[in-house]
Structures are given as C-alpha cells and as structure tokens.
C-alpha cells in the first residue's frame, strides 16, 4: 500500500476545517426527539453543611426528585459555614447573575438581600398552597416578612440551653436549673446560690470545680443582658440606637463578667476556648455549659446524668437566644415552582429525617416536639429547647450591617470578659459610641 505523505500545510488545513465544523455543529440548537417527555427542571440548592450534618441533609433531600418528577435536585454543600468559602461562592453566583435556586443565608444578611430586592416573595406560593405558617415560630416568620411579602422559610430554628451535670449539682446540694419555662422558682438569685454551692476550691484557694461556663459567644452574653431587662437596641425591627448602656443591660453584662472575675464561679473564657467546655464538663470540672442541640451526640454516652435547663429569670424575665437562619429563593430563579416545592419538601418529609439523624433541631414546632419528647437518649429534658423556641421574643436587630455592629460590640465585650476592663458601664458606653453611627448607616426601611 502506497503511503500518502501529508504536508504540514495540508494537515493544518484539514484540522482547521474539522475544528470549524465541530464548532458550528455545537452551535446548532438541540431538538428534542419527538415523543420524549420534557426534561425535568434542575433546581440547585446551596448549603454549608459540615460535621455532624454533612451528608444528612443531602440524603434526606434525595427522594425529592421522585416526589416531584418535574424537578431535579442539584445539591451543593460548601462545608465550613458562611465565612469558609460559602459566602464567596454564593456572592460570585449572585454577581454573575447565576445564583442557586434555593440557598441558606444568615439572619443578619437578610436585610441586605431585602434592601436590594434580590429575593422572591413567597407569599403568593404560601397562599396558593394554603401552606400553614402557624407551624413555624411566629417571630421567625415575622423576621422574614417585609412590606407584606414573605422572603424566607426557616432552615433550622435552634435554641441554646444550660447543659447541666446533674450529679455534680445534686452532690453540692444545690438547685438544678429548671426545665419549666414558667417556673417562678429559678431566678438569678437561685442561680447565684447554685454557683456558690457547686464551686469548690482546694487548700491553696485554687478552684477545682467550676459551676458555670462564661464564654465569649455573643448570644450568651446577650441572654444575660435580657435576663436583667436590657436590650441591644431600642427596637430590633426598626433600630435607631444602641441601648446596651442602659441600667438593665449594664447590670447583666456586669453580672456575667463578675461570674469569672469577682466570684470565681466560672473559668476564664480564654481558658474555655483552649480546652473546650464539653471536655471540662466530661471530666467533672465544670457543672453547667451553654450549648445547643447540635451538641447532643457529645452527651449520648456520658457516665453522669446530664440534663437541660433554662436560664434563670431576672428583672427582664426569662430569656434565650434562637437561631433562625432562612432559606431563600432568588428573584431571578428560572424554576420558582421547583424551588418552592423543594422548600416545602425540606420543611416536610426531609426535616423529619434530618432531626432524627441528629443534624438539626428542626423548623416546625410539631416536628421538634415529636422528636424531643420521644428521644430517650441523654441529655434529658430536651423539651427545654422547644420551650425556648416557643417563647422566643428577641430577634437580631434588623440592619444591613449587623455583622459589623455585632463585631464592634464583641470587641469591647471581650475586654470585659478577659478582665482587662472591669466596669461594664465603661464598656457599654464605648459600645454605644461606636455602634450608634453604624446603626444609622445600617437602617434601610
């Protein structure tokens, strides 16, 4: 067979023509074959699942495609939370006008999304499907509402509680925190007496057993501010000024910091960061820590009685903090019906599985109730978490820059908690001076 010699020029010509042909072919419209069904609409969803939730939510949502044959789920998780890549990915999608069809945001970010009119109003879908919103905590829905529209549904509604080593407290002959929200017999004075009884020191005066965990975690010092009748701002839905320097708030902050520096009932909060409160509790050196339902698996196999209790009541009544991050649908979605169906599915069949598998506290009160009343694994009295959600009254201030406001507050509170500053009034005055201009900047409605 005679070999054909191809010149370089010929080779380039042929290659060029082939390439051009392929490029043209790829530009032609794809015509669906006659008789086939329309392809399902892809609905993309972004979450930030990390351990222990990783995989749980995706698995729970997997049957969605079967439940809604016209839709096809595309699940993406960016582990690590908002600041670990999730927000960058989300904002890159928004900037490119290609956001996911359903995604989670922090509650503090919702005002910014609303102020820029980025989100789809879910009210018409709620009305069309007669979707029962009474199942959700009212304040959460109220927080997602703007100008009569509803712009989100909860991803999870999670409270915090006092996780108590009941054995340690009872051995000290002290009162265990109540599991009844309306219990008049668990006040700040009772809490103080409990701390005094539980805290133990050796002959050198060194503390061998602490009563309570004081932490830099902002939601906890906010709870103590509220217990003493204080508030972060004058009106959370329409904030105009910081009110942390008012007497109740100052008293709450002072009491909280004094638990470490004046009374020695709590280890230094920086020590807690190093060791981990759960470890101190497991080793019998700390009786009460602050935690949420995500920490339940840490207590399933402990060799002591662990129970949940409410925070004590004070001049401001009883208080708690509840996370209620929303799931939202962008206004630009091409598949609003599928996105809405996915949202409903998430809060319905999927959520039951997610709660059972230990991922989230849940969104609807009935689902929370069903699980927390029947699960017998430690900790005991999980009903406390549901009661806290039901009685939740203090949303985060609705500001477009609440993250910055929150950071500014925290920087000063850190000084109070680490003992560099002892006077809560001085700290609170500084916070007000720094935060009030930010509040003016962050108002948007």
């Amino acid at each position: 067979m005679k070999a054909v010699q191809v010149s370089r020029r010929d080779f380039l010509k042929v290659s060029g023509m082939a390439g051009a042909g392929l490029a043209l072919a790829s530009c032609t419209a794809v015509v669906p074959e006659t008789g086939t069904e329309a392809a399902p609409q892809e609905v993309t969803v972004f979450f930030w699942d990390g351990p222990p939730l990783i995989g749980i939510r995706e698995e729970a949502l997997a049957p969605f495609d079967e439940a809604y044959p016209g839709c096809e789920l595309n699940f993406t998780s960016v582990p690590g939370g908002w600041n670990a890549g999730y927000s960058e990915k989300l904002y890159a999608g928004l900037a490119a006008n290609d956001p996911p069809d359903l995604f989670i945001i922090r509650i503090a970010d919702l005002p910014e999304f609303l102020s820029k009119d980025l989100l789809l109003d879910l009210k018409p879908y709620v009305d069309r499907d007669s979707y029962d919103l009474n199942e959700f905590p009212a304040l959460a829905i109220e927080s997602y509402t703007h100008d009569g529209g509803i712009y989100g549904m909860p991803d999870n509604v999670a409270s915090v509680a006092m996780f108590c080593n009941q054995d340690m407290i009872e051995e000290a002959g002290a009162q265990v925190p109540t599991n009844q929200w309306d219990d008049p017999g668990w006040t700040v004075d009772d809490f103080f007496n409990m701390c005094e009884a539980v805290t133990q020191r050796d002959a050198n005066g060194d503390t061998t057993q602490y009563a309570y965990q004081v932490t830099g975690w902002s939601v906890i010092w906010q709870i103590w501010v509220r217990i003493f009748g204080g508030q972060l701002v004058d009106d959370p839905f329409f904030p105009t000024e910081c009110t942390l320097n008012e007497p109740g708030a100052v008293e709450g902050l002072q009491f909280y910091a004094d638990l470490i520096h004046k009374y020695g009932f709590a280890p230094r909060f920086d020590v807690m960061q190093d060791l981990g409160a759960v470890e101190l509790m497991h080793t019998g050196r700390l009786a009460i820590i602050n935690n949420g339902s995500w920490s339940f698996p840490n207590f399933h196999d402990v060799d002591y009685e662990v129970t949940l209790g409410h925070y004590p009541s004070g001049p401001g009544g009883r208080a708690n903090y509840v996370y209620y991050f929303p799931l939202v649908i962008p206004k630009t979605t091409q598949v609003p019906d599928c996105a809405w169906n996915l949202l409903k599915y998430f809060n319905g069949p999927a959520m039951e599985k997610i709660i059972q598998d230990g991922g989230l506290q849940g969104t609807t009160l009935s689902a929370q109730q069903a699980y927390f009343l029947t699960d017998t694994r430690p900790p005991q009295n999980k009903q406390v978490m549901v009661d806290a959600v039901r009685n939740f009254v203090a949303p985060d201030p609705v500001l477009t820059n609440y993250n910055e406001v929150s950071r500014t507050m925290q920087a000063e509170v850190d000084l109070l908690l680490n003992g560099e500053e002892r006077d809560a009034k001085v700290v609170a005055d500084r916070i007000k001076a720094a935060v009030d201009p930010l509040i003016q900047e962050g108002q948007w409605r």
Partner: protein, 301 residues
C-alpha cells in the same frame, strides 16, 4: 511560516510566543485585577448591586472616618518592626552556628529547617495551645522560674509579642539562605584577616557581614513584604481580638471585602498596602548603597 524572516526576527517572535502563556496569565490574573481594583476603589460596590461612583470617598473614609484602618496599619507596622529585626539577627546567628564544621551538621540543619516546612492553619492551632494561659507549654516553662506567664493571646499588651514569638518558628527558612550566603564567602578572606591577627568579632564584622549583606538585604525586603501581609495566624488564633488588638491590616482587608462586602473600600485598603510596601522597599533600596556590599560591583570614584 517564519521562513521569510530574518533569524533575529524569527527568534524574537518565537521568544514572544514562548513567553506568551506567562504574559497572558500576568495580564489576565495580575495586571487586569490590579487595574480593576484601582477603578473599583472609586466605587461603592457590594458584588450584588450596581457599583456606585463615590470618587475619593473611599480614600477619605480610610484617612478620616474609619478608626480601624489606620489602627490596623499601625499594629501591622509595629509587628513588622518587632519581627523583622529579630528574624534577621536570629537567622544570621543560627546560620553562623550551623556553618561550623561539627558532627551531625546535616541533621541539626534539617531539624532547624523543619518548622519552616510546616505552615498555615496547623501551626496556628499548635501555637494556640502553646500560648494557652493555664495549660500552655510556654507558661509551664516560665513557671519553672517562678514567673507567672501572661494571658498571651487574650491580652491586648501581649497579643502582638505573641505573634512575633510565633513568627520565629519559621526562622529556619531564612537560616538556609544565610547558610548558602556564608558558604559563598571566599575562605582566603578569612585567612588574610587571621594572618593580620583579627579577633572573631572583627572577622564577622569586617568579612562575614559585609559579604553576607546582599543576602541580608534580600531577606529584609522579603521580610517587609511578608510581615506586612500577615493574615492566617491572626485569622485562626485571635480573629483580630482582643478588642482589635491583633486586627492586622490583611485581616481587616479580608473583613471589608468578604464579610462586609465593601469591595471598593477593600480595594482602597489593598492599594494603600501596596503603596506602603512599595515605599518601604524603595526606601530600603535607597539605603542599600550605604550598607550592602556587592563583590562584583565596580566602585565609582
């Protein structure tokens, strides 16, 4: 295709073609974003709504309205002033010690260099434990001398020195470069001063340091650039606290860009950092003729 061209022209075209991947990369991923950020610095832009022209407003905010911008620049400079000289001095001393002809020299050098291989989050976590006020190794060590160690990372006074101490972890990286420099010094220079009866100190002062000065200069420039950009440690260990005492410039830039999404203002921060580093580098180059000795350089008279 290139056959009709002269050899010189053909070579020039090939040169450009060979360099084009790098050039394209530079244009697309370095110069382009730099120009874009310069333009952005005149705008208020949060990624999700149209950019709003604010002119010099962001620059004014940096210098006049924002107390944290100059604060973060100040503490970064303060950190650099503490860390860079320590790195230079310890690196040179270590290199001179390890330049001696002793048994197990390679092993010792490797041991000192090893920490420089580890970096980032793992090291930050490790040092968090070392600095732990009640259970940390550092305070345990101090307690042997009846010294009560401070709350290193939780106290405004001690948090910056803590980062400086931690930065010495990587001193072995510089040591290797100094070692290479030391080994490039001709031995006949030492033999000459030895014949003249010079002491060890004079040998170092008149031979070692001048001959090593180009390496020291290089390390100084690199030190300025890297210390002005310190980020990971503060991000992991203190998140800028307590009370913004470790809010380094890059951390603040990150917050403005990716937490508060003030892209225009973050661009201003980036450009000011660039100008600061450029100014410091130029200043060092201006001083170099007074203390950096290049062996091959012809002295102008």
């Amino acid at each position: 295709m290139l056959s009709g061209l002269t050899f010189r022209r053909r070579e020039a075209i090939l040169g450009w073609v060979m360099a084009s991947p790098w050039l394209l990369g530079f244009l697309a991923f370095t110069l382009g974003p730099m120009i874009a950020s310069l333009v952005l610095s005149l705008y208020d832009w949060d990624l999700i709504s149209p950019a709003l022209l604010v002119g010099w407003g962001n620059y004014r905010e940096f210098f006049v309205d924002d107390p944290l911008s100059l604060h973060s620049l100040r503490i970064t400079l303060f950190y650099s002033l503490m860390a860079i000289p320590l790195h230079l001095v310890l690196g040179v001393i270590l290199a001179m010690l390890l330049n001696a002809n002793i048994r197990g020299q390679s092993v010792i050098r490797t041991v000192y260099y090893l920490p420089a291989v580890l970096a980032g989050v793992a090291v930050a976590m490790l040092w968090r434990w070392i600095f732990s006020p009640d259970f940390g190794l550092l305070n345990l060590f101090l307690s042997y001398f009846n010294i009560e160690g401070p709350n290193w990372l939780g106290n405004r006074t001690w948090v910056l020195p803590s980062f400086v101490i931690m930065s010495l972890w990587g001193v072995g990286g510089g040591m290797v470069i100094y070692l290479a420099g030391l080994q490039g010094i001709p031995t006949d220079l030492y033999e000459a001063v030895e014949i003249d009866g010079a002491t060890a100190f004079r040998r170092i002062w008149h031979i070692t340091l001048p001959m090593l000065s180009p390496v020291i200069f290089f390390q100084l420039i690199m030190g300025v650039i890297s210390s002005m950009q310190i980020f990971t440690q503060a991000f992991i260990m203190t998140d800028g606290g307590p009370a913004n005492a470790s809010l380094f410039y890059m951390l603040y830039l990150y917050r403005q860009a990716f937490e508060y999404r003030n892209m225009g203002y973050a661009s201003v921060l980036a450009w000011i950092l660039f100008l600061c580093i450029l100014a410091l580098t130029l200043l060092l180059f201006r001083t170099a003729s007074a203390w950096v000795y290049y062996e091959a350089e012809t002295q102008r008279t």
